[in-house]
Subunit: 511 residues, 2 copies
């Protein structure tokens, strides 16, 4: 028997096949660089055009790199562009201006509590340390934010979420895309699918892609079945950044992690949110981390498809200034500002006991005070999402709620607000009672798969770690929802944007 290294042994067995063949021996996934001819050369290839991809691409381009962003969809921005536009920034300038006392430690504690303490501490610390840099970076990119107040999202101890001017992630994506596309030598390539890595030994040096890709939402698995497009091989001289997002719409992979998710279950995600790029990275040896924690949005509505407008109306409207009730008994059943997991579990419990009996959240005619008129108009436009009722009796009648119990619930909630103490633990200090005279604005609730917490293990430099070495895979970075560990078991609202921008920025800085 040979007492030699694997490389030696393989070299020996290949002696007859000529020197060229040696380079094609490869225990890695990915195509060998020596087996391909590159069609194009770039310094940096970024996969995905959401917050994380754009942040990485701009930072890398600003250092003088020639950067290409690959976006498999026709539309740019993935889930980011349909996101609500809130970004958690611990200890920010708007908090200071409005007298809100926050700290990095409090932010980390809030995240750990929601994450059931399994969050990776060094990644949370990085968010806390670089959140303000990320906010500044976005402003420098031309993104517009509200300057009057920070929003108070569920599970956060204090208001710390800065909000885009139009209550949508599009206010971040659009200026960043414009900025990026103006940079000399850089390109955002739509309908371009990442298929595989090109490797040189253990280093990622390029990607196999398809141009003119036509994503097909009618396929059970677009990643496995779609044969459209024209292959090309791109060199990535400095490396590849994976920023392709989560897998909330991957029918195969999400069900493997949580078999309760039906194949036809609606989610809040854009249609292209699949696991393909992440799974390719696992083949390279990237560590999978906490991949089965799938967050359901407790503020989504069964009365619209996808993310929709409901989540903005409820999170910044009825959940804060109103309440949510179980239609079977008219009673509140959750702290409307608890973390997502607790709220989704509470809703699932009702829907398991009584399928179709969607809980209802509502507020009075001032409950949308913090929202732009655009968002309110959009929410009202379908005529289906928001129920407008003149009185509590009408509300009870419309949604099949016992009227007396409903009135009693509002009365008790209002007493709690006046006393500054809520029986379900909602932080009601400073809130006004619900105007019992009406009118009321109501939205039905149904939890939808929203965010996939797990993914690739990265370090504080956004480098993807390899299970073969417990060290970074040379030339491979990742940021945003494709990574795992930051949020633990449950992500707090608006921390995703922080995660995407901070680690996207870091990937761009380090590559």
């Amino acid at each position: 028997m040979q007492n030699m290294s694997r490389r030696d042994m393989l070299k020996m067995s290949m002696v007859g096949a000529g020197a060229l063949a040696i380079s094609s021996i490869n225990a890695n996934a990915g195509i060998n660089a020596s087996d391909v001819t590159f069609d194009e050369e770039w310094d940096v290839v970024v996969v995905g055009s959401g917050f994380a991809g754009l942040s990485a691409a701009i930072k890398a381009a600003q250092k003088g790199n020639k950067v290409i962003i690959l976006e498999k969809m026709g539309r740019v921005g993935g889930n980011s562009v349909i996101n609500g536009g809130g970004m958690s920034v611990p200890v920010n300038e708007i908090q200071a201006k409005t007298g809100i006392k926050d700290s990095k430690e409090l932010f980390i504690q809030d995240c750990l509590k929601a994450g059931l303490e399994i969050n990776h501490p060094e990644l949370l610390q990085t968010l806390a340390d670089r959140g303000s840099d990320a906010f500044k970076f976005l402003q420098e990119c031309g993104c517009q934010f509200k300057t009057t107040h920070c929003a108070h999202f569920g599970g956060h101890s204090v208001p710390r979420s800065v909000l885009t001017a139009n209550d949508s992630g599009s206010a971040i994506v659009q200026p960043m895309v414009e900025l990026f596309e103006k940079i000399e030598g850089c390109k955002l390539s739509r309908r371009t699918k990442f298929d595989d890595f090109v490797v040189d030994g253990d280093r990622v040096v390029g990607v196999v892609i398809r141009e003119d890709y036509k994503f097909d939402n009618k396929l059970f698995s677009d990643d496995l079945e779609n044969t459209s497009g024209t292959k090309k091989i791109l060199k990535a001289k400095k490396g590849v950044v994976l920023a392709s997002g989560g897998f909330g719409n991957d029918k195969i992979f999400r069900k493997l992690q949580d078999p309760r998710i039906a194949d036809d279950a609606d989610s809040t995600n854009h249609a292209g949110a699949t696991a393909g790029a992440m799974l390719k990275a696992f083949e390279l040896g990237a560590f999978p981390v906490q991949i089965d924690w799938i967050q359901f949005g407790p503020w989504a509505s069964p009365d619209e498809r996808g993310f929709g407008t409901g989540p903005i109306l409820t999170q910044q409207g009825t959940f804060k200034y109103g309440i949510a009730v179980d239609v079977r008994n008219g009673k509140r059943f959750m702290n409307e500002l608890a973390d997502r997991k607790r709220r989704a579990d509470a809703e699932f419990k009702i829907l398991k006991e009584a399928p179709g009996k969607y809980p209802v959240t509502f507020g009075d005619d001032k409950c949308f005070r913090d929202l732009s008129q655009d968002v309110i108009d959009k929410g009202m436009s379908s005529g289906k999402l928001v129920g407008v009722c003149a009185s509590l009796d009408e509300l009870a009648s419309k949604y099949g709620i016992p009227a007396d119990a409903l009135k009693q619930t509002v009365k008790e909630y209002n007493e709690g607000v006046k006393a500054g103490k809520d029986e379900l633990g909602k932080p009601v200090a400073g809130l006004e009672p619900i105007n019992e005279a009406g009118p009321f604005y109501a939205v039905r609730l149904s939890p939808k798969p929203h965010h996939t917490m797990g993914g690739l293990k990265i370090n504080e430099k956004a480098q993807v770690l390899s299970s073969k070495t417990n060290k970074p895979i040379a030339g491979l970075y990742a940021a945003g929802e494709i990574t795992g560990g930051t949020h633990g078991a449950s992500r707090l609202g608006t921390v995703a944007v922080t995660d995407c921008v901070v680690f996207g920025m870091i990937a761009g800085e380090n590559i």
Copy 2:
């Protein structure tokens, strides 16, 4: 641009390198078969010599296959041989004889409840359908079981766990090893480490191993750092069965999934319980499933290393016939027969509030009535694990428990037993009160990493599924703790053995 398949394109680019080189182009992990010379040929290679590996090997060998089992450790049997010897068998002959009514549906419901409903239903159904076959198979292999009763483990609605004659998994491992080693043309190779797969296209056709491997417990990661042994390449004509167990002692991978686990944390597992083989399968494209659910044994003791004897004394002794108390106040703090997650969480809560204040479980002098004298003697032999106290006052004094509160707790528990109703929901019907006169036998409790629920996705035929196709990887099977999905978020006691033997058996039948 080429509008052609990747294979075509690569073939073209390789034209100059000669025909031999084409076969070495490989987007898979693993070594290419065409690049190696096999040192040995087997029909079936089984990685791991625990319940799952032995079941697969014997079943495959009984069909006439030439089978080799690879065991990296010097000792055979992994965690199986230090296991408590209980095996959950829904609707078994001993239940029938002792008048216990059980059903497959009840078994599945119990598993789903503990597993937080994320168990893979088709795998649970397979356990329910084949559990009796597995029990019969073990008996045919010469394994000796108690025939008088089934044990009632936490989380199960009824007693359904058959027990080996010596209250240890060794009563399963030893006869199976003897049987296997007698089969003509088969071999169990100790100190033999699986390093990688050999593949032919997408098919697994062999393994790269090291003989004379010396596992080194002093290394931070044996998988990554150990260079001992002599390389060999084995052909596996019909395929490879991965049965190498879980990763309860993999300091890197377990901490990625749950950062609360300290590097030096003790576990109930044998030293070789690492993630290496599973991670190699991920590189081949195997789906990772629910990998972050790590079960902590709520019945383990800080007063011995590893699994030890405490778990048997508590599970089949003090938890059933006695109680467990919080030493700070002398009160019970959990249903001693609840599922593992609930009990471990309850203990973690105490230990987070008061580090070092280990809860104490105890029973009277009849509390070990179901155990063999060998096990009791073993438990008593260290003089450290079991505290023997003549009275409740002595017990209170020894463990720093308020004596009056302790007496009150025992009194109230006994009243509940007499009334057939326990305030914490423990099923006490048919139990006797604790003899308040003593003597008492006590064990301190500390949850230890015990079972890793997640792993490779297999189908009902024990075939490993590929993320590249959502179909089986040809030539690759897996069984036991290296797989994921069967147990969901939390495995019920004694279902691991069922899982190992059922899917090991199935792998052997199908390969």
